[in-house]
């Protein structure tokens, strides 16, 4: 399973996005606001989820801001961190 697919799966499970299936989440969909519909406090949960399932820590705003834009940007961030 690719990082993107796993990411979609864990987001649905851990953030209780019960109305969604992985197929319904587009790679470029914005995580917050109009896209996936997450709110600012979900960012806290998202950071925890990424660490728990991928062993990757989003340390600060410099890392978090570009990474937490879409599934694609977050997956890319995770892959880069895992490769280090």
């Amino acid at each position: 399973m690719s990082v993107k697919e796993k990411l979609k799966q864990v987001l649905i499970e851990d953030l209780n996005l019960e109305d969604l299936t992985p197929d319904m989440i587009e790679d470029e969909m914005a995580l917050f606001g109009d896209g996936l519909g997450l709110d600012s406090l979900d960012a806290v949960e998202l950071v925890v989820v990424v660490q728990k399932h991928f062993g990757v820590e989003i340390k600060d705003m410099d890392e978090g801001r570009p990474a937490l834009q879409s599934i694609s940007t977050l997956a890319k961030f995770i892959e880069e961190k895992q490769a280090q």
């Binding site: 851990d14 709110d39 949960e45 989003i58 340390k59 937490l68």
Partner: protein, 297 residues
């Protein structure tokens, strides 16, 4: 709460008048002027009467007209004194205010856990004076703070003409400052937030009971605590004399990990905070400064 604003009802020149009184005659002259000004507000200002009534009607439900006037006068007077004290700290110096801290060892022990600390404050006493006495922790303090546009009320460091000694996190920033708040807690620092009032467009509130009726209080701090394992402390200050304040640790709140997205899961912990605030309002009934209708209609 839709028409309410946290901006001062006093005019700019009135604030300047009091700053001048402090510079010329110190606290005594400023307080003397305050007695007259507060009497006017308590007797004739419909806005002041209305704003003070929400809390006082809940805190003292059975009160006749004279009692209502007396309590309104005391509440507005204490509020005015706190504003003068706050300005004094900036204009004349923090050493003019003595602050006694109750719970210092407990705070140091919590910090030693290495997960930072979330101070949940409220609009009571003088939190700015309280914050100015936290240097013993030797840890950076970060404040979640939103400044309303056009607010003429100044913080003590603005009076002093110095840089703000705290790092300000703006809730209007990226993701409501959530990542920034997590970042400072991961570094083991102190994060201070207001727990009694919803900020701006914040929708992250839960209903809890306060003074016998339901209010909405924010749960963001509790969610952060659950995600990071950080302890929460309810820390309130109160004026104990003309030049003295006490700062008291009312309660330590431990939020378990993994509470997730269900906001109802945070209600018991926000309710613990509301209970601490109620305890405070019983002990110091005229030092509670939320001048808007917190309660559901």
């Amino acid at each position: 709460m839709s028409n309410w604003t946290s901006r001062s009802i006093g005019r700019d020149w009135q604030h300047r008048f009091f700053y001048l009184a402090i510079k010329l005659g110190g606290r005594r002259l400023a307080y003397l002027c305050l007695y007259v000004v507060v009497a006017w507000y308590a007797l004739f200002s419909a806005v002041a009467k209305e704003r003070a009534s929400h809390y006082l009607a809940r805190r003292f439900p059975a009160a006749g007209p004279w009692e209502r006037f007396g309590r309104r006068y005391r509440l507005i007077l204490t509020f005015g004194q706190v504003l003068i004290d706050r300005a004094m700290v900036g204009i004349i110096g923090a050493e003019r205010i003595k602050v006694q801290l109750h719970g210092k060892n407990a705070l140091l022990n919590l910090l030693a856990e290495g997960k930072g600390m979330i101070l949940v404050n409220a609009h009571v006493g003088c939190w700015q004076v309280a914050m100015s006495s936290l240097s013993f922790m030797e840890t950076p303090v970060n404040l979640l703070m939103q400044r309303e546009e056009g607010d003429i009320d100044r913080h003590y460091f603005e009076h002093a003409g110095i840089e703000c000694p705290y790092h300000i996190i703006d809730p209007r920033g990226f993701l409501g400052g959530a990542l920034e708040m997590m970042e400072v807690l991961k570094r083991g620092e102190v994060l201070s937030v207001m727990g009694d009032r919803m900020l701006g467009d914040d929708q992250n509130g839960v209903p809890v009971e306060f003074l016998g009726e339901q209010v909405t209080m924010p749960f963001s701090a509790y969610k952060l605590a659950s995600a990071t394992g950080t302890p929460i402390v309810a820390l309130f200050s109160y004026k104990t004399g003309p030049d003295s304040y006490d700062l008291k640790l009312y309660r330590t709140i431990r939020v378990p990990p993994g509470l997730g997205r269900d906001q109802q899961a945070f209600v018991p912990y926000v309710q613990e905070f509301a209970a601490s605030l109620e305890e405070f309002s019983r002990e110091h009934p005229f030092q509670f400064f939320n001048f808007f209708n917190m309660w559901y209609e």
